[in-house]
Structure formats: structure tokens, C-alpha cells
Symmetry: C2
Subunit: 448 residues, 2 copies
């Protein structure tokens, strides 16, 4: 294949994929769907949901696609938007280190909105595996500067990935899929300045909605570029690094599938994954040494340079902003709060005593410290160092936090996450688990 033909090459790779033949990939896809469902039910009552529901109800539309946890339906486009928001509302959904963002919160809402999924769902899990593959490769090929510059990868990469996923589910022709990729690319957007606000999770919903629209445009014969990822004015040139993409984007497709290796990272905490290393470290110190806020003078949090780029809030005022604050997470733990509880991360003001504590926590960057070869994400670590008032100093280092691949949640852990999210509705939890285990998408859709 001509390395310059990224768009047609992507369409070919997607169309010739047979992910259903991989037992491992299918197992991970089922875990991914289970975790997505847990994260979505946990976020179903977020205050943003009602606002979006009001807008959707004002617009009207044919109610044929489910809205997770709402007990009602909406148009496919509206369901893609709202389900993407719900899945990502608490930042409790999976991340993927190649993506540097949230694949399932875009891809699965897009698939749930697709006519093929509603019709029979036969290619649903395969399409999800393909979508993760595309999004991981986009994330890797777009280059690290993309995120660091200020783009929100979930938004900017999600629409193309989800369009490929739907394209696989609906068996688009080569020609249709090339155009769908272009339609999605032309709608790519999302900015990290929205982190800590309701707009951040809505980026996931917008990307899912754009993907669905892209596929529908392609299916209706709407005219568009067949080469939107390619060349000096294409997607990679505009948003990232064309040269890198030409050398890496499509090599070794599905070998192994990216949903397996490096794999999805399922969260045990409802906040940004970049603070999970520190969360594990401080919990360990609290348990081992019985330390608490009152006994500490100063906390240092050591990152490799850039390792805290997603943690945009140093002095958050609400729990929602606190999802992006390592200071807030550490302060919560030192005040005896349970970091797994979503209630600390809603849009209520942060208690005065915790806000007052935040300035004691200092970020340090150290380029000399060697990352662990097994670190997740690659090259990342966090060291938390606590200076007690009595002169003692303790520290803990975490290279691979709980939930991350290599230290991952078991299927049982994820089922527990789902039960917790469903607040004890065990019957519903059991129905969902069974539907996912049996890959019965019709049954799954009828229970969300």
C-alpha cells in the first residue's frame, strides 16, 4: 500500500477486519462494554443530563434509540450525544494510553445509535474492537504535541474512530467509508480548556453524534473528499504530524488488537486518570502510616515532565473541577474521604477546610528519574512525598495504578462497579451482565 494513502488504507483495514475471530479481543470488548455500562449508570443523574434532556425534548425527534438510565428514547443523533455525555460525565469511563483519551465513551454511544445495532447487533462487539483500534492508532500517529498543544483527543480523534466503528457495523462500501472518514474529520473538534466543566464530557457526545452523521451522509450519497486524512492539507497535517502518521498509522493492524494490548484501562476512581497514580500512592501512605491532614506540613508530588498535563486545576472550587486536580485528590484522602465515591466530584463547592489545605501540596517535575519499563501510560510515574509535622518523611511511588492494564480490574471488579452504579438493583445488573456475556445486543439495548 502506498503510505500516502492513509484514508483509503484505513477504510481497507477496517473493512477487511475480522475481530470476532479473536477470543481475547472479544473478551476485552465485553469487559469494555460492561465497564462503559457501569460508568454510564453511575453518571446517569449528573446535573448536565437534565439540561441536555430539556434541549433534546425541545427539539423533538423520532424516539427510537435508548438513553442510558433515563427510561426513555430519543432520535439516534440525540442518543449519541446524550449517551456520550453520560458515559464520560464523571470521568469514570475507560481510557486508553495510545489514545490519551476516552475511546468507549465515543465509540459505544455511536454504535448504540446505529441502525445496524438496533436491527440485530451481530457486528456490534467487532465494531467496537475496530473503533478502539482506529482511535488508538490515531492517538499514536497524531503525536504527543496534539494533546499538549491543547486539543482534547477524545473529541478530535473520536469522530473518525466512531465513524469507522459504525462503518464496520453497517458494512459500508470502501467508497462510502472513505467519505465517512472525511465527513468525520471535517467535524473534528474539542479543546482542553474545557476540562473541569460539563463541556468536557460533552465532547465525547459531540464526537459520537458527528460520527453518526458522517456515516449517514456517506450512506445517502452526499459528496465529499476520499482523501481527507492525507496530504499537506489533510487531517494529520492540520491537527498533528503527517510524517509520523505515514510511517506508523496502519502498520500491524490488529496484531495484536489494541483493545488487548496495551488494552483498556478501567477506572476505580471517578476522576482523571492522570491523578490515579497519586491516588494509589496517598491511599497506601494513609493506610500504612496512619497519616492525616492535621499531621502534615507539606506534600510533594513528583511527575515526569508533562505527566500532569491533564491535571489543569491546582485550586479547584468545585468537585467537578477537582476531577482534574491532583491536589484535591490528595487532600480528600488526607481528610479521610473515600476516593472511589462519585459524590466528591460533582458540581458542589469544595468544603472550606479542604480548599484551605490545597496550597500545602506542590508539584515537582523530574526528568532524571527512570520510568519503569512496565509503566502505564508508558513513561509515566507519580511519587507522593509527605512531610509530617514531627519531622518524619514518607514517600510512595506508583508506576501502574490500579485498574490500568497490567494491574487491571477483573471481570468481577467491574461487575461490582456496575452493581454499585445501579444502587443495588441486582436484577437489572444481572440482566445486563448476562446480555453482555452472551453478546446479545438486542437484550442489552432493552435493559439500558
Amino acid at each position: 500500500m502506498n503510505i500516502q494513502e492513509l484514508t483509503s488504507g484505513l477504510a481497507q483495514s477496517v473493512r477487511s477486519s475480522r475481530p470476532e475471530a479473536s477470543i481475547e479481543a472479544m473478551r476485552e470488548a465485553k469487559k469494555g462494554l460492561l465497564d462503559f455500562t457501569a460508568a454510564s449508570f453511575a453518571g446517569r443523574n449528573d446535573s448536565g443530563v437534565e439540561k441536555l434532556l430539556n434541549l433534546i425534548e425541545g427539539e423533538g425527534g423520532v424516539p427510537i434509540a435508548p438513553l442510558i438510565g433515563q427510561g426513555k428514547k430519543a432520535s439516534p443523533s440525540q442518543s449519541a450525544l446524550l449517551n456520550g455525555f453520560i458515559a464520560h460525565a464523571l470521568d469514570f469511563d475507560d481510557v486508553h494510553s495510545d489514545v490519551r483519551g476516552h475511546p468507549s465513551a465515543v465509540i459505544l454511544p455511536a454504535l448504540i445509535a446505529s441502525a445496524a445495532a438496533r436491527r440485530d447487533g451481530g457486528r456490534f462487539l467487532g465494531a467496537y474492537i475496530v473503533g478502539v483500534e482506529v482511535m488508538a492508532r490515531l492517538g499514536e500517529s497524531i503525536g504527543r504535541h496534539h494533546y499538549e498543544k491543547g486539543w482534547h483527543n477524545t473529541g478530535t480523534l473520536g469522530a473518525i474512530a466512531a465513524a469507522c466503528a459504525i462503518g464496520y457495523a453497517e458494512e459500508l462500501s470502501q467508497e462510502e467509508l472513505e467519505r465517512a472518514i472525511g465527513f468525520a474529520a471535517a467535524q473534528a473538534g474539542g479543546m482542553r480548556v474545557q476540562f473541569g466543566t460539563e463541556m468536557k464530557p460533552l465532547h465525547a457526545g459531540l464526537a459520537a453524534q458527528s460520527a453518526l452523521f458522517a456515516v449517514k451522509l456517506a450512506q445517502t450519497g452526499f459528496g465529499g473528499s476520499h482523501t481527507a486524512l492525507d496530504g499537506k492539507q489533510g487531517f494529520f497535517s492540520l491537527y498533528g504530524d503527517l510524517e509520523k502518521a505515514e510511517s506508523t498509522f496502519l502498520s500491524n493492524w490488529g496484531a495484536p488488537w489494541r483493545i488487548v494490548q496495551p488494552g483498556l484501562w478501567f477506572k476505580i476512581y471517578p476522576f482523571c486518570s492522570a491523578a490515579h497514580h497519586a491516588a494509589d500512592a496517598i491511599r497506601k501512605l494513609v493506610v500504612q502510616h496512619g497519616i492525616s491532614a492535621g499531621k502534615t506540613d507539606r506534600i510533594e508530588v513528583v511527575f515526569p515532565p508533562g505527566g500532569d498535563a491533564a491535571l489543569t486545576e491546582r485550586q479547584p472550587e468545585t468537585g467537578e473541577e477537582g476531577r482534574f486536580s491532583v491536589e484535591y485528590v490528595i487532600a480528600l484522602a488526607l481528610h479521610g474521604r473515600e476516593l472511589t465515591a462519585a459524590g466528591h466530584f460533582n458540581n458542589e463547592p469544595i468544603p472550606q477546610n479542604i480548599q484551605a489545605y490545597l496550597p500545602r501540596i506542590h508539584r515537582i517535575y523530574d526528568a532524571e528519574i527512570q520510568p519503569d519499563p512496565q509503566a502505564v501510560p508508558k513513561g509515566r510515574f507519580t511519587i507522593v512525598r509527605v512531610f509530617l509535622s514531627d519531622g518524619r518523611v514518607y514517600e510512595a511511588r506508583v508506576n501502574c495504578p490500579m485498574g490500568a492494564p497490567g494491574n487491571g480490574l477483573s471481570e468481577e471488579d467491574i461487575k461490582e462497579k456496575l452493581q454499585l452504579a445501579l444502587q443495588g438493583d441486582e436484577r437489572k445488573a444481572a440482566s445486563l451482565v448476562t446480555a453482555i456475556e452472551q453478546a446479545d445486543i438486542q437484550s442489552y439495548l432493552s435493559h439500558i
Copy 2:
């Protein structure tokens, strides 16, 4: 004002605007609305319209906002999308040299979809003036590299401008407008690789739709950044040039209004404005010297470097692609075709004899030639040089094409454009003209 506060400064400027007090600006706004209406009716039967209508009808929605020339209504969001497409479908709508794109095809569909416009329309024309002001300033401040890199300014700048226009019409608070600007910025997209396809005009519709959604999110209290244009990770940094924006974006707001100076450019030809200089030049040569395709060996078209960036097609295969081909435009004129006729620019194949003629036409770039101080756009010109088979050589230079500010269409010319677009339905044309002259937006909306 702190020059770094571009978002709050923009919101302040929009909210404190009183464009209705400027007789000149209001006159230009009425001309702009008239020309937009003409371009839209001319494009109402474009083949893309039916495809989009099918998608819209499949989605359903409360039909309360008009679809231009369709005799039916749709949801506000759907009307913003489709009307934006219709207005820009033929590339027959106005451009603005500061924008380097199409302001009215985004701003007016967004305003037509706004609840305030449907309720009374009192601030409609003022809001349009404000929208053009914002889009012109965004275009100037984002820097020329934005377009040259491959972004489509109509899409990338349109959503923010149109959100400000609706924000003015609906009298958003400072705080709401800041968030609306951020919601629009986070949806900014559009790529020049889509030029010559149906997706190009859809960028206008998508920007209008994003603007409407941005304002609705703001009104419903949805949380978002108040500073999305600012700082190292804000809109200007991501898409353009923050430093330039900080020194130019908000200075001398409305003095004069950009809709007056440099003013909108109303097209007499239904193709990309970058080919209008050459169109005027070749028509002049044909009339003065009676030349035609059969008598010519070679044609040279001389541009300043980059002056043909929008003209992406050198060997177009359809009339639609031909909208972005100076070669096609010149070849048409030399084959005796009327360049003002939209029929040459639809998605039919280009006749074989005209395709075969295109390779005789050569582009040349000359950085030595002095642009005329009155040139439109600034720094632009085109020279067409014809080498006849009998050895004679003729040339014509155009600095400011017909329709451009300084050589603009009169109100009568635009009325004629409307009548032509309405194919002789003089009663409808008269109703629309009267409604616009009287700034009676209710009546206007009932006649489109």
C-alpha cells in the same frame, strides 16, 4: 481592557454594540440579506438538498423554523444546518475579504433558527452586523496561515461569529455569552480538502448549527469555559496566532462596521471568488477582441503568490469541482458559455471538449508585480494573457472584480439576482424585497 482577555472582551463588545444606530451598516445589512436570499433561492434545488432533507425527515423534530425555498419547516437545529448548506451550495453567496470566507451563509441561517428572530426579529439586522464584525475580526486575527494551512474559515470561524450574532439577538448575559463563545470554539471545524464537494457548503450549515447549539447550551446553564479564546491552549493558539489576536482582535470595534468597510462582496458568478478577477478579464478579452477557444494556443493566468490558494482544481471533472478551477472558468468563457449561469457548476460531468481544452491554461506566480492599492482582496490581482494562433497576444488585468466592494453591485443588481433565482416569480420577489426594506423579519420569514 486586559489584552489577554479576548473572550470576555469579545462578549463585552458584542453586548455593548448598537449597530442599529448606523444608517450605513443597516443599509448594507439589508443588501446582505437580499443577496443571501437570492443566492439561497438559486441553490434551493441543488442535489445535496434532497439528500439532507431525507436525513432530516428520518430524524423527525418539531417543525418551527423555515427551510428556504422548500415550502416546509424543520427543527431550529435542522433549519440552521440545511439553510447554511442551501445558501452556500452554489458558492454564489457573499464573501468578505477579512474573513477569507463566507459570513452570511453561516450567520443568517443561525439567526433564522433563533427563537428571538422567530418571535419578533427586532434585533435581527443588528445581530447580523455584529456577526459579520466578529467573523471579520476572527479572520483577520487568526492570521493568513490558518487558511493556507488547510482550514476552511467559513467553518472554523463561523460558529463563534454566529454564536455572537444569536447571543446579541437573544440578549445573552455577559456570563452566558462567554460560555457560548467557548461552546462554539470547541466545535470549530472544516477543512479545505472538502473544496469541490458537497461537504464544502455543508461546513456553513454545520457552523450555523453549532452556533445555535452553543447558545442553547449557554441559556440552559450548561457549564463551560469562560476564556476559551485566551491563553496558550485557547482557540487562537490552537487554530492560529494568539499574539496577533491580542494586538488586533478587538481594537476599534464597529468603527467603521466591517459590513461597511471593507464590506461584503456580492457575487455575480456562482463560483469561488478567487476566480472572479480572471472571469472579468477573460470576458473583457472575448468581447473586445472576439477571441474564442478555436483561435487560441495558450493562456497564462498570473497571480500574486498564494492568490489562487482557494482554486484547488486544475483539471475538474464536474461543474461542482469547476467552482474552484480558474482553468474551467476561462475555458467556459472561451467556449461562449455565460459565466453567470449556475447550470455550468452543478455535479454533471464537464463536456469533453472543454475538459480537453484545460491543459492549455497555465498558472504563473509573480511576486514582482505591484498590487493596486485599491485591490480587493488586499494585495490580489489576476492577469489573463491570451496567445492567439496567429501570433497576436492580448492581456487584461483585474484588481477589483465586479461585485467586490469598490466595484460593487447596486441594490438593483441584487434585486435582479433575486428575480433570476426565483425564476420569474415576481410576486414572491416583491414580497421579499419589501420585507427586507422594511426590516420586517416576521414577513421575511413567512416568505422564504
